[in-house]
């Protein structure tokens, strides 16, 4: 039993953190979020060059032949940085449906993908090339055409897909949901961790009544709660990632559990930090609202916490999902 990351995994995390800190500091994310395009397409080439687009793709298809735990590490870091771009959509969501040819084009950075799960809106519809449509357990590929909607989290805009018949895909459609839920849980962990850090930094330095506000337990205990929940979310996210990577029989329920818990934890961490920052936390200028909006995006996509817990209850008790 070993719940430690390997040296290679830690290196991947360190590489991700330093790349994202350099290329996507919070001012740059804010600028992109408020721009027409919503992202920087040049970053896709860089992601491809670093090998991030083929982490779990087999080596014979041009990938690195690693696993989903490594992808979860990248997703956590991308969440921490609020990376605006279709990494979640392409790698976290669409990937398992794709056949060898499509995979090769993803790995090289030529083609970006998203997916619609049982009629859901399509994340990043406006900036991907093709979309996986999963219905009744079958996966088909359709062109990324339709209406791009204005969304609260403008770093990950949703679109309404124009219906098309599409062409069948060779991958495994049943893997999309547990993988996507786990990917979102990993992102949520990164979002929650960063929101907590912003709250802690403020509580250490902001002085009121002659002392840093972090000495007041009404402030420090609320941040301690964020820490506890974020760590518990982290444990669930990597448990689920391991189950997905190993094709463990618990993968479905673990993914639902991790996404339900981690999304709520991230939303709460953002809300607590907004409160701790006071007026500053309520401004457009401060980055915190962008984390909050991403946390809420994660919470809504793929089923809210109550719906996911209903699935967990069904698995535990064998009763029909009530929500």
């Amino acid at each position: 039993m070993d719940f430690a990351f390997t040296d290679e995994q830690e290196q991947l995390r360190a590489q991700a953190r330093s790349y994202l800190a350099e290329r996507f500091p919070s001012e740059r994310v804010a600028e992109l979020a408020d721009s027409e395009a919503g992202w920087d397409p040049r970053s896709w080439r860089e992601l491809a060059e670093m090998g991030w687009l083929g982490v779990s793709v087999l080596e014979e298809h041009g990938g690195a032949g690693l696993g989903f735990v490594e992808e979860a590490i990248l997703l956590e870091e991308l969440g921490r940085a609020l990376y605006p771009g279709p990494y979640f959509s392409t790698v976290g969501l669409a990937l398992p449906a794709l056949g060898p040819d499509e995979l090769a084009r993803v790995v090289s950075g030529e083609e970006r993908w998203s997916a619609s799960l049982d009629g859901s809106l399509v994340p990043d519809l406006g900036i991907v090339d093709r979309v996986v449509v999963v219905e009744n357990g079958d996966a088909r590929a359709v062109p990324a055409q339709g209406e791009v909607l204005e969304t609260v989290d403008s770093t990950r805009r949703l679109g309404r897909l124009q219906p098309e018949n599409g062409t069948p895909l060779a991958g495994d459609a049943s893997l999309l949901r547990p993988r996507a839920l786990t990917a979102l849980a990993a992102e949520a962990v990164g979002v929650g961790e960063r929101a907590l850090e912003l709250g802690v930094e403020h509580a250490k330095t902001r002085e009121q009544f002659g002392r840093p506000i972090g000495v007041y337990q009404a402030v420090s205990h609320t941040l301690a709660d964020s820490y506890v929940e974020t760590q518990l979310a982290r444990s669930l996210a990597y448990w689920a990632a391991w189950c997905v990577a190993e094709d463990d029989p618990q993968a479905q329920v673990a993914a639902a559990a991790a996404k339900a818990y981690a999304a709520e934890a991230a939303v709460s961490a953002c809300e607590r930090s907004i409160q701790v920052l006071g007026g500053i936390g309520f401004t457009w200028e401060h980055v915190l609202h962008r984390y909050y909006k991403r946390a809420q995006w994660i919470q809504t996509f793929g089923g809210g916490a109550a719906a996911l817990r209903a699935q967990v209850a069904e698995a535990l008790l064998g009763t029909p999902a009530a929500v």
Partner: protein, 382 residues
């Protein structure tokens, strides 16, 4: 990351399972921790654990331990709590006194005390809290005057589990009357059978008396019963508390695991269909998994570095609140039957007992402050 047992761990796990299967009788399963009527059975069980080599799995071999990795201890705790086996009666000795003596004791003390903790021949209790010193342990007033090369102890301690059957007490005293706060404290081992030691049971809101008050009146303690140096009692006491919280996680999560299984069985048996109740059942199961894998992370950290990681500090804090929610949820499912004493599943007792969980072994307020100050690095409020 590999969440499977290694081949060695898997072999040890099946050995423990087989041993429990062969030795654990139905009468022994599911007894209430600390309750007085289980004392004799619990002593016998502890001796069996010792004979089988399961007491002190991680302790050094020269003192009767098995010198095994922490993961073996975790596996043993998981399996024995899952089987609802009683705990070793020497929990204070195993979890607190022993590790403190291993860290700060003399070689004579190690030889003298450690093997008998494991064999349950000697039972230990803890003398830390006082009527005026609860969360604020540094305000202890129990005095230890230096006299005839030893100490003369006077004072009162409270909330002491096992004191009524204990042979030894780990006692935090003020040895320098002029000192304040963390200075001038001395950590002593006190013979509970010595003249001047009096134990009175404290009845708690469940009606049970797990805890005791201990009164010390002119109790003579020889100098060789001091752990660490005179005046250095604070840092020795911190070792005890680190171990109290550090090793607790797996045992607590194991107990919660059993409770969640029972909750699910109850919900199934009562055919719970209310989505609001089902939502809460699912949440309890999710939080149990979160605690379980957080413990694995803490364990991995401990095995890699020898130092408990920050993950460990959240186990007890979150477990206590999860257990309180879970037992209340069970009562809600039971409906008016929840009022029947000793009713279905013992939930009534468990729910009342759970209110102590956020108070004992560090209140939730203290634990949140520890997380805030030591993990998040926020400025100290005190």
């Amino acid at each position: 990351v590999d969440l499977r047992d290694t081949p060695d761990e898997a072999a040890f796990r099946s050995e423990v399972q087989a041993w429990l299967e062969a030795n654990l009788t139905d009468e022994l399963r599911g007894g209430r921790f600390g309750e007085r009527r289980f004392e004799q059975a619990s002593r016998e069980w502890s001796r069996k654990l010792y004979d089988a080599g399961y007491a002190g799995l991680t302790w050094p071999k020269p003192y009767g331990g098995a010198g095994a990795p922490y993961s073996y201890q975790a596996i043993f705790l998981e399996e024995s709590t899952k089987a609802e086996a009683p705990q070793h009666i020497g929990v204070i000795g195993l979890g607190m006194a022993g590790p403190t003596i291993i860290a700060h004791g003399t070689e004579e003390q190690k030889q003298r005390y450690l093997p008998k903790i494991l064999s349950a021949e000697e039972i230990w209790c803890q003398g830390f809290s006082e009527p005026g010193a609860g969360s604020d342990l540094a305000s202890v007033r129990t005095r230890a005057e230096q006299r005839n090369g030893g100490f003369l102890v006077n004072g009162q301690k409270v909330w002491s589990s096992f004191a009524h059957i204990a042979d030894w007490c780990i006692l935090v005293t003020r040895s320098d009357p002029a000192s304040e706060r963390h200075a001038g404290l001395t950590y002593l081992i006190v013979d509970m059978h010595a003249p001047g030691v009096e134990v009175r049971p404290l009845r708690q809101l469940t009606g049970e008396a797990e805890f005791n008050e201990i009164f010390f009146t002119d109790v003579e303690v020889p100098a060789e019963h001091m752990v660490g140096a005179a005046g250095e009692g604070w840092s020795v006491a911190m070792t005890t508390l680190l171990h109290e919280r550090g090793t607790l996680g797996f045992a607590l999560t194991g107990v919660l695991d059993v409770a969640v299984r029972k909750l699910i069985a109850l919900a199934r048996e009562r055919e719970v269909a209310d989505p609001l109740l089902l939502d809460r059942v699912a949440q309890e199961w999710i939080e149990l998994q979160a605690l379980k894998f957080t413990n694995y992370r803490a364990l991995t950290q401990l095995m890699k570095t020898g130092i408990p990681g920050p993950e460990g500090s959240i186990s007890k804090l979150h477990w206590s609140e999860a257990n309180q929610r879970l037992t209340k949820l069970a009562l809600e499912i039971l409906g008016e039957e929840a009022q029947v004493v000793n009713g279905d599943g013992d939930w009534q007792y468990q729910q009342l007992r759970s209110r102590g969980n956020t108070i004992e072994a560090g209140t939730s307020e203290i634990l949140r402050s520890i997380v805030a100050e030591r993990v998040l690095g926020l400025p100290r409020g005190r």
